[in-house]
């Protein structure tokens, strides 16, 4: 008698199609979890409607994991606020500052994609991770704390509900998010070398600090 053998090491179903606009994201079969996964880097975001896991590694950056809790459509972003003069000063981050504007966009892009794919704003569930104090050369600023402050402020402003969070601290985190169920696995990277996380975030910080964020403008005839 023949048995169909399913193994977490081998996919037994085809990879879901990447949503429109997300073909540049690194997607693969994750043998450890036995699920298709999408791995996002600083500055990227991804949404899944087909049961994929979304993975990222965070230092001082923040990831918001957002989903429609009834429809299982959700995604994750990965961003940090640019370092502007105003957030060198300790104290409350102005919601209207240049850096908060950058954060608003990172959040809005993610939320819009979820809504476009069938999510309902009233049913959004948000979980937040990251914001560690791990960028050594910026330790006097603690950009991680600013990132946490920003995301809290955004959630309050938008009337969203924060279902869970694991933020701050000294260690980078690996975050595995399952938008279909809302479940999250977080591993603190205490023992591994964190040079890669650090270098990636440094390079991303340089990009966003030196490039003014601005989209195209087109006037029709």
């Amino acid at each position: 008698m023949k048995h169909s053998v399913t193994s977490q090491f081998q996919p037994s179903y085809p990879q879901p199609k990447a949503p429109k606009g997300f073909t540049h994201i690194n997607r693969y079969w994750d043998k450890q979890q036995g699920v298709y996964a999408a791995k996002i880097l600083p500055g990227q975001f991804y949404i899944s409607t087909g049961g994929e896991m979304i993975v990222t590694v965070l230092g001082s950056c923040i990831s918001a994991c957002v989903r429609d809790r009834y429809r299982g459509i959700g995604g994750m972003n990965h961003f940090m606020l640019p370092v502007q003069r105003e957030n060198l000063d300790p104290g409350v981050l102005s919601a209207l500052s240049e850096s908060a504007r950058y954060g608003n966009w990172a959040m809005e892009y993610l939320i819009n994609e979820i809504l476009k794919n069938g999510g309902d704003k009233r049913h959004l569930e948000v979980k937040v991770f990251g914001g560690g104090k791990v960028l050594e050369s910026m330790s006097q600023i603690d950009i991680g704390r600013k990132n946490i402050e920003f995301v809290h402020q955004f959630i309050t402003n938008e009337g969203l509900s924060l279902a869970a969070e694991d933020v701050g601290g000294l260690f980078p985190r690996k975050v595995l998010y399952f938008p279909d169920t809302g479940s999250v696995k977080v591993r603190k990277l205490k023992t591994v070398r964190n040079d890669v996380v650090f270098e990636r975030e440094q390079s991303y910080a340089r990009t966003i600090n030196n490039t003014p964020a601005q989209g195209d403008i087109e006037l029709f005839d």
Partner: protein, 120 residues
């Protein structure tokens, strides 16, 4: 005073847009979706509409179409301010009667210059 109707379902985005526009001396009326904007527009006195595209209840494209049916809004500038940069969405906006398309994130100075330009 020039009155701008700023439409976005995100409170943070409305706050940012209003702050930029009010700082430049415009009067701002905020609306949280297309339907809300349409109702407020019908009260009259709006010189320019600045609207998001993806919104609940009534989206930005439907809002343009509805506004263009009103005699008062046949020629009123309608700028879309959106995360959407796909050519097909832009064409849809143009066909519906949008005056221009601004992809977020916006630079405050460039936004104000564009508004000045379309207001003539």
């Amino acid at each position: 005073m020039t009155k701008i109707l700023a439409v976005d379902d995100s409170a943070s985005m409305r706050q940012m847009v209003s702050f930029t526009l009010q700082g430049a001396g415009y009067e701002v009326v905020e609306a949280c979706d297309g339907q809300d904007a349409f109702d407020k527009a019908k009260r009259g006195g709006v010189d320019l509409v600045l609207s998001d595209v993806n919104m609940p209840v009534m989206d930005g494209i439907a809002l343009i179409k509805n506004l263009r049916t009103l005699p008062d809004y046949k020629f009123t500038p309608i700028l879309m301010l959106t995360t959407e940069s796909a050519a097909d969405k832009k064409s849809e906006g143009k066909a519906a009667g949008a005056t221009g398309w601004i992809v977020k994130p916006f630079n405050p100075d460039q936004l104000l210059n564009t508004i000045k330009k379309v207001l003539g």
